[in-house]
Symmetry: C2
Subunit: 649 residues, 2 copies
């Protein structure tokens, strides 16, 4: 006969399905400082008693919890969902908990009310119960005014000279309810098994305009410094530089990824390391550490972050190969393994061996390198291929760097399986490259953006929509001419709060190395160009960046509503934040005019008729739009997209 | 400057999103003994290495884990999902874990293969690597045949006299791969944070036909015993009896819930307790404990389970009121609170006070009572209003009873908020009453059944579709006449593996106590009837129960596919299990003939043309059906439903 397990006291209230929760709390949800944080949960209890609940929260290091009352949001449909919001005032880690308890007085009051409203009955016993509740609470409520209100009600209830109706009125007085709710006692209180985490980043984690350029095409770091004012005027927030470290000579690649380089060929910046140094050095042809410090300082004055590339891989000349041979993988015959994914080979690159017995020293050295650049004023890192390095390493590294400087942002350049990209975001990457370049049709775009905006991953995966990169010249751009560049620029900059372009985009550069390839011909990865910030698309870039700053609706992702256009060649969407509503209509066809009608649905809560003004014209035309159908026509010959701002009445 | 947190060794492999997981493993998933248990998970690792994974599982009390290999199921679409299945051979608790590790040899072999197939290159270094892997594995592999295969490959690889092609062939030999996979070493192995749980019930937990009757209307327990053979012939698996305990005299309700009872009125069986005893006694008018023991024993011989009602509430005459006054709630003036939900009052019933300081004694007494009836041969309990008793109590009680007898089934009679009903299922109730009686239109039925069958709750919430109960005579039955009873019977018995009817259904009893009420007039709850098992609907009941036993497809829930009928008045669905396919078409309109065409979709994997035979006719007609549209017409005057079985070719 089995032994009886003695009953254990447990709360009758259950709190379940808390949002946001990332992987049952193993990872934090991400927000930005200043965000309104909404927490919701199912709060369950047996029986019919009324409940109360609060969200408790605090920033890391704060000794005391703050509390905000939750309210039930679906009572009318028989639900059990409670919700509360609070502002994230500080950058960094926060935790929150939920506490729910039985509202004993509220339940008594509600039952009394229903009995008073029902058929007449003797409620002496009920009133006696209430009296007891008031007596007990009066001993605990600390606010003297509220205590006075309770005592006042008690006096009425005990007064045999007044009518029964006066007793009821005193018991049901909303002022008494508020006073009783000040009672610090929380009968049957339940909490979460453990608090959940939130990481509050600076706003650039969510919202920023990125520009990528190769410093060697702009005259090195000093030359880059000279174009900072133009980048600022264009409205860019982040200037991303591919690796600036010394480039290997042995096995250096030539133009168009040739296996051998000529004497003047500069090599790929991703083949890091030479006798001039490794990951902590600046390529002498680009400048010095001090040049970089000056660049980051000057950029900061202009409100621009300089982003460096963090690519954990070595050329054959990297100092580590001699100083730390134990960090690399050698075959039994002693040969070093270069990077490869057969049949592809990267003969100029050696990967570190993450399984080396000296892995701890390797991790610490990589931490030292990142913090070295942080010390030089670099607060943003674009991490190259993070999905080929261990998850535990990134989780540790990012936390370590954030311990030193919580402003640092890590962008994951992982083009791989969706779930791997999500895992990188969960373990700490601030934002991530996406599949955007390969989403070109209306249904691809609306499906993908809806997933990013409204699935669970919106709590931790922040997209950065690059319209092109040195590795990705999509065939849509190859064949669509300038209208294609306009389409993709407008989409990137208005769909995603973070977006970017790589230089050359503004010149409509569109020739691939060969048909069917997404690589540029004469790619800047293998040769230097002579570039200036003077491309014909920059006027539109500047305007879009300006609109992004002026319209809060464009600074969020999970506020997008895709709109029916009755034409697959036209994509339309609205974004709304507070009183700011932006409606974007884009012709996806770079060759032909497309017309359709944009359906404004009721749930956008716009007036029946409202005025929109086009922001992509020098003199913006105004139109009267309405709930329902609105005719649009976009012609590559004249205008490829509308960005409408709804004017307030 | 913050301290550096030293790197910690952690697996590079992550296992996520395991199915089934109920509330992140806080509750077990439910299955039945004999079920094929499928476990799936995302298995993630950085880089391109190949992986292997197994599900490990064991029944409670088994010292050793068994293992079944997982295979990736979505490699072709770039996924990360792995899956394995195993049979649940024993009743009771099981746990499972997942282990995944890097397939070092498989990765090496795959890269070698790609290089061998690619442009010619010197692969001496690669072969040396492989040789080392083979040497190491040969020391660990225990099976002598497999060890011999590894040694044989090693000899070839070391043989300088044979060709390079022979080396490759030896290295790539699938026999070698299998031998290498016998290596017990699992590099970089990762497991779940903790094993997950499964509860395997007996099959009656999922599949059973229930009949509810009031023993006092059948001549007490002895009379019930006499109808057991008929119930068996009708194909019922469970005979459910409302409370059989002594009924209170004080405040006893009269016919039609009258506040006062006449001298001959028997009272409601749910007003439990009299001087004759409480929850552990049998009402003297029904028989004795020995009668019950004989009833359960006789039923068992016929393959029928006797289910008792477990209603934790007391009449004013219940012995507990004097023996355990501390278990009840009294007002400050000493008055006892009867059950009420203002303005409703249940003057003949007192609820226990779950907040009593003596709650532990109360719980133990309730445990004793259930085990007392288990000892009398009762293995099924229909629990009255479990949602008004604490969740922790049920979780404890059900586990305690299962510790004594794992065959016991608990059916939750909770008609309340969906999430509360789910929580009761999560904490241990074997099956649950549902909203079925209130789902009468095609879209209500298909939406509700799809949610039950395909949402997460299908892992823990097992529906029992009662077509009526002593409390629920739906207006559809009140107004639809016999065809309505046919419709609801066919729907209940073919949609849900567990279903039931309450006696009187077979006589089309359809008169409510008043318009707008779901209560029966002259309800059996307050008076005895003289009943026999002779209603005109029993022929159909018997046929449906027979079909349910003969067709495995009708014994499952999550195999249902709703079919388009092109008529809202016709509902159609297919259920498939192995080679058994059942197609049900029901006329929802009890008044008019409805015609439409049933669309058989390709995903049902039926032949382009197939033969169906109607099972609801004494001489079943056969029809040639096809993928696509199939004409149907159902007329209340002749036939209200088809249950087709697809005949094998």
């Amino acid at each position: 006969m089995p032994v009886t397990n003695q009953p254990q006291a447990q709360p009758r209230i259950r709190i379940a399905h808390v949002s946001p929760t990332v992987e049952d709390g193993r990872y934090p949800a991400k927000r930005c400082v200043g965000d309104q944080m909404t927490v919701s949960a199912d709060v369950l209890r047996d029986g019919h008693d009324m409940l109360r609940a609060v969200v408790r929260y605090r920033a890391a290091g704060e000794p005391d919890w703050r509390e905000v009352p939750m309210r039930q949001v679906d009572a009318q449909v028989g639900g059990v969902r409670w919700e509360a919001s609070f502002a994230l005032e500080r950058i960094g880690s926060h935790e929150f908990d939920i506490e729910a308890w039985t509202d004993v007085f509220g339940t008594w009051r509600d039952e009394l009310r229903r009995k008073v409203e029902g058929p007449q009955a003797d409620l002496t016993g009920e009133l006696g119960e209430g009296e007891l509740l008031l007596e007990q609470a009066a001993k605990r409520v600390t606010d003297s005014e509220q205590r006075g209100q309770i005592h006042s009600a008690l006096r009425t209830l005990r007064d045999g000279a007044v009518s029964r109706q006066a007793h009821y009125a005193a018991a049901l007085d909303p002022v008494l309810l508020r006073a009783m709710h000040a009672d610090p006692e929380r009968p049957g209180a339940a909490r979460l098994p453990r608090p959940l985490r939130i990481e509050a980043d600076r706003v650039l984690a969510r919202f920023g305009s990125w520009y990528e350029l190769f410093p060697r095409s702009f005259g090195g770091l000093a030359g880059v410094e000279r174009v900072l004012p133009e980048l600022s005027t264009l409205g860019f927030d982040v200037l991303y530089l591919p690796p600036i470290h010394p480039i290997g000579v042995k096995n250096r690649k030539g133009p168009n990824n040739a296996l051998t380089a000529g004497p003047g060929d500069p090599g790929s910046p991703w083949a890091i390391g030479s006798p001039d140094g490794g990951h902590d050095a600046v390529h002498p042809e680009l400048g010095t550490i001090d040049d970089l410090r000056r660049l980051t300082a000057r950029a900061r004055e202009l409100g621009i972050d300089v982003a460096l590339d963090f690519a954990i891989q070595c050329s054959a000349d990297h100092p580590w190969l001699t100083e730390h041979p134990e960090w690399f993988h050698r075959r039994p015959d002693g040969t070093l393994k270069y990077a490869e994914n057969p049949p592809k080979r990267y003969q100029d690159i050696y990967n570190v061996n993450w399984e080396t017995p000296s892995w701890r020293e390797l991790w610490l050295e990589l931490r030292r390198i990142v913090l070295h650049w942080v010390d030089c004023g670099v607060k943003v890192f674009r991490v190259d291929n993070p999905h080929t390095k261990p998850f535990p390493f990134w989780e540790w590294l990012i936390a370590e760097v954030h311990n030193v400087d919580r402003d640092v942002i890590f962008l994951a350049e992982a083009f791989t399986k969706r779930e791997i990209m999500r895992e990188l975001a969960r373990i700490g990457f601030t934002q991530s490259y996406t599949y955007f370049t390969w989403k070109n049709s209306r249904w691809e775009l609306s499906e993908y953006v809806s997933e990013l905006a409204y699935s669970e991953e919106s709590d931790y995966f922040r997209p950065n929509f690059f319209a092109n990169t040195p590795d990705i010249l999509h065939e849509y751009l190859q064949h669509g001419g300038p209208p294609a560049f306009v389409t993709r620029l407008v989409l990137a900059s208005t769909l995603s709060p973070s977006y970017g372009i790589y230089s050359g985009y503004e010149w409509f550069e569109n020739v691939p190395v060969r048909a069917g390839s997404e690589e540029y011909v004469d790619s800047e990865k293998y040769e230097a160009k002579a570039r200036k910030l003077d491309g014909p698309l920059l006027g539109l870039v500047r305007r879009l960046n300006e609109l992004r700053r002026d319209n809060p609706a464009l600074q969020q992702l999970s506020n997008v509503t895709f709109l029916e256009t009755h034409n697959e060649g036209l994509i339309a969407y609205a974004k709304r934040e507070g009183s700011n509503t932006v409606i974007v209509v884009v012709n996806i066809d770079p060759h032909n005019a497309q017309e359709g009608s944009v359906l404004i649905p009721a749930q956008l809560n716009l007036p029946p008729v409202f005025r929109v003004r086009d922001q992509l014209q020098l003199v913006g035309a105004a139109y009267d739009w309405r709930m329902g159908h609105n005719y649009v026509r976009l012609d590559p010959q004249s205008q490829q997209a509308h960005v409408f701002v709804v004017e307030s009445a």
